[in-house]
């Protein structure tokens, strides 16, 4: 049915808004792309820049699989328009390793077997990187609370918390 939405779309089909050029610094590289205004940062990363490490889970800000760092802060890329991030520095899971060395969080997730299917993992790791930078979580309870925006359907939570604790101790 989708009555109102469908009706509005028909009356508007004749004038599709133009695409807009956007500059983003993604994982240290300057990227210039041209996107429709409604392109989310998530879709820009995956479909325009072929950075498919960032996952689309719910696409509604409810699961955290799309978490990336924008200017050092963790956000949901599915609820962010790419055009709004003109000039921003984006870090995705592909940008965490340095010179072939895994990021401490990536190594900790391996050490603690902190994933099963792996679909939420890039979001978990980017979120944990943001969490460590914020410096608000000290205890396991606080890690659980401040990581609650990342859902793991496999239920690897105890191992995820242990992995984050390891990375926090070494950072």
């Amino acid at each position: 049915m989708a009555r109102s939405g469908a009706a509005k779309r028909e009356t508007r089909a004749a004038t599709v808004p133009e695409k807009i050029p956007v500059r983003l610094n993604v994982n240290g590289s300057e990227m210039a792309l041209t996107v429709a205004p409604w392109t989310t940062l998530l879709d820009a990363l995956r479909d325009h820049l072929d950075l498919t490490g960032t996952k689309k889970g719910c696409d509604h800000g409810q699961c955290g699989a799309c978490t990336v760092l924008v200017d050092g802060r963790r956000i949901n890329s599915c609820l962010t328009l790419a055009v709004m991030k003109e000039g921003a520095e984006i870090t995705t899971i592909e940008g965490l390793a340095r010179d072939g060395e895994l990021h401490p969080l990536q190594q900790a997730f391996i050490d603690h077997d902190a994933f099963q299917c792996g679909y939420c993992t890039s979001g978990q790791i980017c979120s944990a990187a943001g969490l460590i930078a914020e410096g608000k979580a000290k205890t396991a309870d606080e890690i659980r609370e401040l990581m609650s925006g990342n859902i793991c359907r496999c239920g690897a939570y105890p191992n995820i918390v242990a992995a984050i604790q390891q990375a926090m101790e070494r950072s």
Binding site: G5, W38, G61, I75, N76, L79, T139
Partner: protein
């Protein structure tokens, strides 16, 4: 998403000018609610006006001893701001009880105020909903209404306002500063959100061509005796079934001033001046709190699945006021309710 145009506002005056020329345009700041609504086909603006770069990002003390919060201050920055943590810890705790850190990093102070009310049917564009399509009927009254309102409802709508931040702002009696074509004005937080009545499509008294520029906190922050208790279906990252913001000013055991605001139970943060008046001069104990709870919940009505909220709210009010009186506010991370 339904296609829309995009433009950036260069300053507040430009933002107002742009929205005036296009009634179906919307401002976007954090986007956490608006983009979700567009994806669900609940709303379909023709144009988004990006206000996220406007210079409304400061938190400053006012000359009268309060605090002025810029409308674009992210929820996370506000919750952790030293002035808020020290002087308005109730607000800090309430913000941290809401959403996730990712969303709090994106969501703005002004955007939190104008997030749409919640109801499964409002978000499901295939069902009748008076809020989404005025006159089409309410699917929730006889539907799955576990999350819906018990106070201030109308035949048209039983949706709830989902904000935690606004519940604390209601208790603190914040003032919303807005600018429109006619100039600036202020709106008391109690008058900002609306009850559904027969116009549930309007959540707030902000005019479509107005923009929120700041939220002002009065000097009194109740930093000694406060608590924010949020009851939900999981321990974090879920909307409130019932939440309570309690703030007390005590003289020994005697209540000098009291504020109680409820979340998750109405179309707006719910307060009762009668309940607060009756607390003044009383000994801060469970019987006084239970009496206040009964007054706050006067007229409460369930719709089947949400009947439990009435009893839950009553107990939550007593518990939260007790926590406030003891000076032991509900912890954010330790989920035990003491």
């Amino acid at each position: 998403m339904t296609p829309f145009q995009y433009a950036r506002a260069s300053d507040v005056a430009d933002a107002i000018k742009q929205i005036a020329t296009d009634p179906s345009a919307r401002f976007i700041a954090g986007g956490t609610n608006l983009l979700d609504l567009i994806k669900y086909d609940v709303t379909a603006p023709t144009k988004l006006i990006d206000i996220s770069r406007l210079p409304l990002g400061n938190v400053e003390q006012t000359a009268t001893g309060g605090v002025m919060i810029g409308a674009l201050v992210p929820n996370s920055d506000l919750a952790y701001h030293p002035l808020i943590e020290e002087r308005y810890p109730l607000l800090s705790r309430a913000i941290l009880a809401g959403a996730s850190q990712q969303l709090r990093n994106m969501a703005s102070t002004g955007g939190n105020l104008v997030q749409r009310t919640r109801c499964f049917y409002f978000y499901d564009a295939t069902t009748p909903c008076n809020k989404r399509e005025p006159g089409s009927g309410c699917s929730a009254v006889d539907g799955i209404n576990r999350i819906n309102a018990i106070l201030g409802t109308s035949e048209s709508c039983i949706a709830t306002h989902p904000s935690d931040m606004c519940v604390a702002l209601a208790a603190i009696e914040a003032i919303v500063h807005v600018t429109g074509p006619a100039g600036t004005r202020t709106i008391a937080i109690a008058d900002f959100h609306r009850l559904p009545g027969n116009t549930p499509q309007r959540d707030t008294n902000l005019e479509p061509d107005e923009i929120i520029t700041a939220v002002e906190l009065p000097p009194k922050g109740f930093s000694a005796n406060y608590s924010y208790l949020k009851i939900r279906d999981r321990l974090s990252y879920a909307f409130a079934l019932v939440s309570v913001a309690a703030a007390l000013e005590l003289d020994g055991d005697t209540i000098k001033d009291a504020r109680v605001a409820l979340g998750g139970v109405a179309h707006k943060p719910w307060r009762s001046s009668a309940a607060e008046v009756v607390l003044r001069g009383q000994r801060a104990d469970a019987s006084a709190f239970a009496n206040a709870a009964d007054i706050l919940l006067r007229g409460a009505r369930g719709f089947g699945h949400n009947d439990f909220k009435i009893g839950l709210a009553r107990r939550a009010i007593v518990r939260t006021l007790s926590q406030a009186a003891r000076g032991t506010p509900q912890s954010i991370s330790d989920k035990k309710i003491r």
